[in-house]
């Protein structure tokens, strides 16, 4: 069986500085796969490379065996890859549920004629998208904001809203960039449950996270980056026992 995501010798340099260098790993379908490492280790850069925001300077990324290194983010979404961001990307000019409905974009057939004259086909699609989005908001735990404007929502709820939007696209794999950052203990526990529920639906989850407790609890496998290179890779137990990792975290 081939891995869902396969990263091969991936590198990215910004004007001579290597943010990511020679990174290789594979993620199997259905896994919760976490990327950890100290600040500046290249975790977000790695995510940006995988999701098409950056073009790699070397190496390759494969999704389901297809090379995706040169594709646009929107093309990756078509292939079932979705993500959230460390610095949240919520459309503050839209209502909460519209943000989630945006996630339905690829599943909605939009045609200029039906749109302009608001023909029944469009209203039907919109009603369904609305219902599905409301359901997803309940699922991620921000059901109380269904009729709210995004700009009126608190930080924690926005983080969950962003996950709901990614889920709305019905992805095969979802990449979460520091979903627990800025959350309190209660919210973090809720997030942990949410990630489990997502994984239970068969969606592969990739995670960049600083909260070690969360990461160790839910990950199937971990990748440790340091200075843009792979320091270690393995199960949570293996990582916990890895002397290089301990040195990097404690000594660094």
């Amino acid at each position: 069986m081939t891995a869902l995501v396969e990263v091969n010798d991936l590198s990215k340099a910004f004007g001579g500085v290597h943010a990511v260098e020679g990174v290789s790993f594979a993620v199997d379908a259905g896994q919760v796969y976490s990327v950890i490492g100290p600040n500046g280790a290249g975790k977000t850069t790695l995510f940006n490379l995988i999701t098409g925001l950056y073009t790699p300077t070397g190496g390759d990324v494969k999704l389901n065996g297809e090379s995706i290194a040169k594709l646009e983010p929107s093309q990756l979404a078509e292939r079932g890859m979705c993500r959230t961001f460390q610095q949240m990307q919520i459309c503050m000019n839209m209502s909460a549920i519209e943000n989630v409905m945006l996630g339905r974009h690829l599943t909605l057939k939009s045609n200029l004629l039906t749109t302009l004259f608001r023909l029944p086909a469009l209203t039907r699609g919109e009603k369904a998208a609305h219902a599905k989005s409301a359901e997803l908001m309940e699922f991620v735990g921000c059901g109380e904001y269904i009729n709210a404007e995004a700009s009126a929502m608190p930080y924690g709820a926005l983080k969950r809203l962003e996950i709901a939007r990614a889920l709305a696209a019905e992805p095969k794999i979802i990449l979460l960039d520091e979903p627990a950052a800025g959350l309190n203990a209660v919210e973090t526990t809720a997030l942990e449950d949410l990630i489990r529920k997502i994984a239970e639906q068969g969606i592969t989850v990739m995670l960049v996270e600083h909260d070690m407790k969360l990461v160790m609890n839910i990950s199937d496998r971990l990748l440790v980056l340091n200075y843009g290179r792979v320091l270690a890779e393995g199960s949570p137990e293996q990582i916990r026992a890895n002397p290089d990792v301990i040195a990097a975290y404690l000594g660094g």
Partner: protein, 300 residues
């Protein structure tokens, strides 16, 4: 070699277009530098930039007409423009600091209409002449002629650029402006009063604009509405060079001036402005941030 006989004439024509282009280009460059200064400090495109030019020229002309000696008139006019720059930042830009980019553009457009309206009330609608700084006798070079005032424009332009370079690399204030432009919050953390810096940027930009307005007035004449088109051309030059780049502003200005003159000379005077505008589209097509614009990596 049949064309050899025509060569000297062709060369002197070319030289003539070049002189014309460089002179007008130097003016554009000075205006573009004003845009760049304010853009760097505040990310605002100041559509009232041309009005500083107008204030410089008109105030000098009206003061000399009142009998004030030329040099003193120039100093007063520049000071007036500087005050105007400060007032613009304090009264119009600072109170709207949370507004988005387009809103700020409209505010500066409102300000420019307001300033122009005031100038029209005070100075009237007529065009005015300012004498050349050093005689009307043109200088002849290889069959092409150069207005002596062009040399003033180029010379003053070069001095201003040198002063700006010194200001930004050698003085605390200049460095503070640069630091603020790179990262406002960090600048504030290290104790830079960013509002003060913004005010300074507007003032320096106004000084620059008014000096440009004074040195070009003998060539272009001056009137209450001279700032519109020159301001616009300055913006064009700044965009060609890359917003925020001092080198870009100078190169962009000169390039725009030379292209205009060459287009008028060799292509069609009807379409010379269209040629200049096509040039921008072409530049931006290949270099979306202008010739020397900073490459910004979007952080997500």
């Amino acid at each position: 070699m049949a064309a050899a006989r025509a060569d000297p004439i062709m060369f002197s024509e070319f030289l003539q277009y070049l002189f014309t282009g460089i002179t007008i280009g130097a003016i554009y460059a000075l205006i573009a530098l004003g845009f760049t200064l304010i853009y760097n400090a505040s990310h605002v495109i100041n559509f009232a930039q041309g009005e500083f030019l107008m204030i410089g020229g008109m105030a000098t002309v009206s003061l000399t007409a009142m009998g004030v000696p030329m040099l003193l008139a120039i100093v007063l006019a520049v000071a007036l423009a500087g005050l105007m720059g400060i007032a613009l930042q304090r009264l119009a830009i600072a109170p709207a600091k949370d507004a988005n980019v387009v809103t700020l553009i409209i505010i500066t457009i409102g300000a420019s209409i307001f300033i122009r309206g005031l100038a029209q009330l005070v100075w009237g609608k007529k065009y005015h002449v300012m004498p050349n700084f050093s005689g009307d006798e043109p200088i002849e070079v290889f069959g092409a002629v150069l207005n002596s005032q062009s040399l003033w424009v180029l010379g003053v332009g070069a001095v201003l650029v040198a002063v700006l370079v010194y200001f930004f690399t050698r003085t605390m204030t200049g460095k503070a402006i640069l630091a603020t432009s790179m990262n406002k919050d960090a600048a504030r953390l290290v104790g830079i009063r960013t509002q003060m810096v913004l005010m300074l940027a507007f003032m320096v930009s106004a000084l620059l604009g008014s000096i440009a307005g004074i040195v070009v007035a003998p060539i272009t004449f001056t009137s209450y509405d001279i700032g519109i088109i020159l301001g616009l051309k300055g913006f064009v030059a700044a965009a060609i060079g890359g917003l925020g780049s001092g080198v870009g502003a100078v190169v962009g200005g000169l390039a725009l001036g030379v292209v205009e003159a060459m287009a008028a000379g060799y292509l069609s005077s009807d379409y010379k402005d269209a040629v200049a505008f096509s040039m921008i589209l072409l530049v931006l097509f290949f270099m979306p941030r202008g010739l020397f614009g900073a490459k910004v990596v979007e952080r997500v």
